[in-house]
Symmetry: C2
Subunit: 710 residues, 2 copies
């Protein structure tokens, strides 16, 4: 289309051929105007076209069958009756019910009638055939499930015991075949163009069922079986399928079924938490990207914590899911639609709202020409799944998604980290991530490991050198040796007057940050447009101006450690060393004020708890921005805790976790963290700018030098 | 909704109250199953709900009225008849026609009947009232336009001459009032919930008409007038309106109408080209963000070049338009829908496909609960506007957008740069841009200007220091003084044997790049996890190993200049200086090979054209990655051109512009640029890795040292 309309060149030339003919009719109006200026003149309109087609909208398909409610856990106690198993037969009933209550489905008796009105069309559910199931599952697995039909109650209970969180009754096999068949029929209806999209309200769910074994409430891998059979039976119209799994659990079964297959792109958002969250394997991690032909066609988005919600899911969709889907160009999109990430689900413990499910469905409609099939997986709060499914259904029939209840909510830092990692990993395979995110087009971690080669050297060393040079040139500072510690010689720098000063300011900081501009084209950092921002320097100059002694400690950070554990330890060792080997022996020393910046501040807190420094240390000020707070452990004397609280100022950024993640509650950190104050800004540089004067005044007061501070 | 479903805690507990009652009916099946195991048993279903509402979908509204075709340019020549003015009465006719031809509108006679079928509903067009128009325009302007009704042909032609690309006939006033009234009525119908969304096929367009003057084919500012009146008349239901203007021209009129207003967020994507593109003022630049109350509620996305298309528009929508819109939470979205960015429009010269218009409409439907009103602006290729409008209409009635013809196309670097600048600028006002893009939450340029303060020092200086130290420590290198040049003393470093070596390798490079990891939480660069990558060092070590003399030149780059003009000049001065003051006088010098990296390489090319160096210079190798090529200007001798081509190797990245922007054609750079070779990779580091050996071999050959190269 693009091409042929470019072909016929200019706006004017294009119209000529066909239109010159029509001009005498069409433009009679204009010509006359110019002659008669009859503003109330009406042109003679001659029939100009008969509609080539009568355009009609397809309906949305719906799969539902009461027989899928027969699969249920056998009650072995009254308790189980009162507090039933979460994978409860009413799950599909409640979804069907809310669709009827809202008039999307016309079925007052909720009996699953065939004609369900003008908005949706019933897709009859049938049992999946052995042949279909065997496209994914092993004969042994099929055989085992089928046997449950004729087992005794005792056998059933035994198998239920033995399995990985699955249960069986004599109807499990029937329900599982119907659930699987429903998924297949729903996809078929979409692919054959009988419906514009479809919703399969089926159970038992499928995405945990692996080719050879059931698990996680799943008997057959419904979506996988459907996808396999569609690919097999519609080779012309369906070459690629995208499976988007927003169930809060990783779909290990689906992933396994297509791990070596480049025809199916499996994308899953789920809680992972270092593999501790169900299904509790590493298969759900971000680095599981597929094997062989399937490499690059598996994408896990593993949340590192619970409590994620709309902001995180929308972010993931906009940054990863949709761009990737657009590039993959699927012919069909299947949503493995568990609703256990929904707000209110106590198993998932996340906060995805019904509107957000609507938005995600709306975004996915923009792929595969809208060939979209939603298949139910998990989700255990009956209210939540009903409300969520309703919004999904509304978007399917063509309604716009409703507004998110809290669209300005910020994405959790942990989630941003997860997404960045995923993008970093997938940028190997997907163009859409190259331009903007790759570091010089290559994976960062890989490069870092090359740093042994002398070609690369750590930036922080260069920066510290620069500081050292500046301070020695300008103020004749010296380096203070750290005996028997394997650290760069420029780690500790001090003013020449240090030995005989009465008052010393000790500044313990991380390597200064950089204001860098990412090269917009390559994504690399362009040093020519980057600046080092030395936050400590203002304090040092202030101290110089007051003739205080100054010790400036730069804590180098480990290149590979993300958690900066090593930096924290180093800081503790260095600061303690300074006390034990220098400060204690300075003859005329009366007053010390500590200034900590970043992770390094924990070195100060450590010292104040492990030595009794109260006779000289008057103030401990720290800027932690978003870094973790460090609590004082009063080893020498219980009263140290109160003393620390009185003599410290800890500045945390406005959105530091310590204020509570929701931000709106007035959580206060415990006393042991010192006197923690909330800044109005965030970012280390902004915080220090904001509180510089307050800090220096605090030091002057603690030094009892009010007079000067006037 | 979110809240109340969280309220009733666990999946199980929620169901109890209401459901325990229904259990005996609902779950009779399960209970019985366990007893009877009758797999063919059917449960007794009792009517459980009557639909509370009968859900029905609203139609899409359509404004069209033949009378808007009366406004037309008065023909003053046969030529004007053959090749009419682009703002042609048939524009609205052709759009209406294609809707009918595709069955969206049922109107075989195309006469604008009232009943147009099941998919769309006619919204009657009426003339805007004076009161409505005066909400935006000055009485003088209204008076002037109204006068055109009774002007003589001569007066009309005179006013047409005098205006800023507008024309008048005696029906212009009527058409303009209808066009404006149509926009108002379309918005009203959406706001009052009579239609789910609307398409106003109106002309003359409006977005260039400023409160006091007509311009750019526009008489009244239709969209602005509509928005003002909606805000005035629906204060309860409509508090905020987002106007998205995808006409290829900046909507100066609309912007001006709301520049001080925080109730209307105006977002415009348009060609800008340093203000040269129509309307040719700086008002369309990214830094025009609103004034007073309106500050932060105006967002211009100014393309720096023509030829943008789907990739760029989708990128802009995903990165800027939608996140911003979501945060703004409009109650109504109005699209100022010019179709002159469409593929085939010779005025816009861009390549937005009909499908892309569909996708953009689909994305905007996710805002404001789908309250969306599309109002026609420009667009002059009758085929293109018809096809584009058709896709927009299809999405409005609820169809999914069709797939983009070329979804894997990469976003133009210039566009990425534009978007980044816009995000950088808007991050002051919009939370959604803070987390990921802002440098430590603050605008970079602002910070750079502070670099005078000693608190900040340029990173490149620190990096060069580090290099210097390393080379002096390891190889006893020295600095080579640059007399009378205002450059850092470490700019030129050389090996100790330089004075009496036969062969010298001269490496002229930009400040080395950095592999940095953006701190995922703050968006700043964390030096502790960043590495300097010195590309030159491998060449230096290679040269050392062969006992060659080495001169290493680091060209500092200007902190503020983006184009690196100053770096290029510096490189030329330094390299020429080296030749004139050192190399010429080295007694035993026989062979020189140049290695250029980045912008700095232009220094080499400059020298080779301005001096005759052929007796000693044997090879000139440059790695330009994506930087501009530098052509040799043979000042001393014409034949220098051929010589340079024979003795040079210029390595450009795989996607260097010199290979043609579309990439698929085999464009070859001219000879004067030297022998330019296409690398398989991109990114300076990758290129050098890829071609290191080829380069050194080339030098050995040119030095006639094959034997050693074995």
């Amino acid at each position: 289309m693009a091409d042929n309309s470019t072909a016929n060149g200019s706006a004017n030339s294009t119209v000529k051929e066909e239109d010159m003919l029509k001009r005498n009719i069409e433009d009679v109006s204009n010509d006359r105007d110019n002659v008669k200026r009859a503003s109330n003149y009406r042109p003679v309109i001659v029939p100009a076209c008969a509609p080539k087609i009568h355009y009609s909208l397809l309906k949305t398909g719906l799969c539902y069958d009461v027989r899928m409610r027969y699969h249920a856990k056998i009650y072995t106690s009254y308790f189980e009756y009162i507090d039933p198993h979460p994978e409860d037969p009413r799950r599909i009933y409640r979804i069907y019910k809310i669709l009827a209550e809202n008039g999307l489905v016309d079925d007052p008796t909720l009996s699953g009638v065939d004609d369900i009105g003008n908005l949706m069309v019933k897709i009859p559910v049938r049992e999946a055939t052995d042949e279909e199931i065997l496209q994914v599952h092993t004969p042994e697995h099929l055989k085992f499930i089928s046997k449950t039909t004729n087992m005794t109650r005792e056998q059933l209970l035994k198998e239920t015991e033995g399995g990985d969180s699955v249960y069986f009754n004599n109807d499990s096999y029937l329900s599982a075949r119907l659930s699987c068949g429903g998924a297949i029929e729903a996809c078929k209806a979409v692919v054959e163009g009988r419906v514009k999209n479809a919703l399969a309200v089926v159970r038992p769910p499928g995405h945990h069922a692996e080719p050879e074994v059931a698990g996680g409430f799943c008997l057959f891998s419904n979506v996988a079986v459907a996808a396999q059979n569609i690919l097999k039976n519609y080779p012309e119209s369906v070459r690629r399928i995208m499976v988007l799994d927003w169930d809060i659990h990783h779909g290990n079964g689906t992933q396994k079924a297509f791990y070596n297959d480049d025809r199916v792109l499996y994308v899953s958002l789920h809680r992972y938490e270092l593999g501790k969250y169900y299904p509790g394997t590493i298969h759900g991690n971000y680095d599981q990207t597929g094997e062989g032909k399937g490499e690059g066609f598996n994408c896990n988005i593993p949340w590192s914590c619970g409590g994620v919600g709309d902001a995180e899911y929308i972010w993931a969709f906009e940054q990863v899911v949709i761009p990737m889907g657009r590039e993959f160009q699927p012919d069909l999109v299947i949503i493995s639609s568990g609703f256990d990430a929904a707000d209110g689900d106590t198993i998932g413990q996340c906060h995805v709202t019904p509107s957000c499910y609507g938005h995600m469905t709306h975004m996915l409609k923009s792929l595969a020409q809208g060939n979209l099939c939603v298949v139910l997986e998990g989700g255990y709060n009956l209210d939540s799944i009903a409300k969520s499914a309703l919004r999904v259904a509304k978007v399917l029939i063509g309604e716009p998604p409703e507004e998110l209840p809290n669209p300005t909510k910020q994405v959790k830092p942990e989630a941003i980290e997860t997404i960045e990692t995923v993008i970093q990993t997938q940028s190997k395979y997907w163009k859409c991530f190259k331009r903007t995110h790759a570091n010089d087009g290559c994976n960062f971690q890989e490069k870092v490991t090359e740093t042994s080669s002398t070609k690369n050297f750590p930036l922080q060393h260069a920066i510290r050198q620069e500081q050292l040079q500046m301070l020695t040139d300008e103020f004749k500072y010296l380096t203070l040796p750290l005996l028997k510690m394997d650290l760069p010689k420029e780690t500790v720098i001090c003013s020449p007057n240090i030995y005989d000063s009465e008052a010393i300011i000790i500044c313990v900081h991380d390597t200064p940050g950089i204001w860098a501009q990412r090269n917009r084209l390559t994504g690399t950092i362009d040093p020519s447009t980057s600046i080092i921002v030395d936050n400590a320097i203002d304090f040092i100059k202030w101290a110089n101006s007051r003739k205080y002694g100054v010790i400036d400690v730069n804590i180098p950070q480990s290149l590979l450690e993300q958690d900066n554990y090593s930096a924290v330890i180093t800081a503790q060792e260095v600061v303690t060393f300074l006390w034990d080997n220098y400060l204690k022996y300075f003859p005329s020393l009366l007053k010390v004020a500590f200034i900590g910046i970043g992770d390094a501040h924990s070195g100060i807190v450590h010292l104040l708890g492990h030595r009794d420094t109260r006779n000289v240390v008057k103030a401990a000020i720290s800027f932690v921005d978003n870094r973790p707070l460090k609590s004082l452990v009063p080893l020498v004397d219980e009263s140290l805790g109160d003393w620390y609280f009185k003599n410290s100022l800890i500045f945390a950024s406005t959105d530091h976790p310590c204020w509570g993640t929701d931000g709106n509650d007035n959580k206060k950190p415990r006393k042991k963290f010192g006197r923690v104050l909330k800044c109005e800004t965030d970012g280390m540089n902004n915080i220090i700018e904001e509180r510089f004067e307050e800090s220096t005044d605090f030091i002057l007061d603690s030094f009892e030098e009010w007079s000067d501070s006037e």
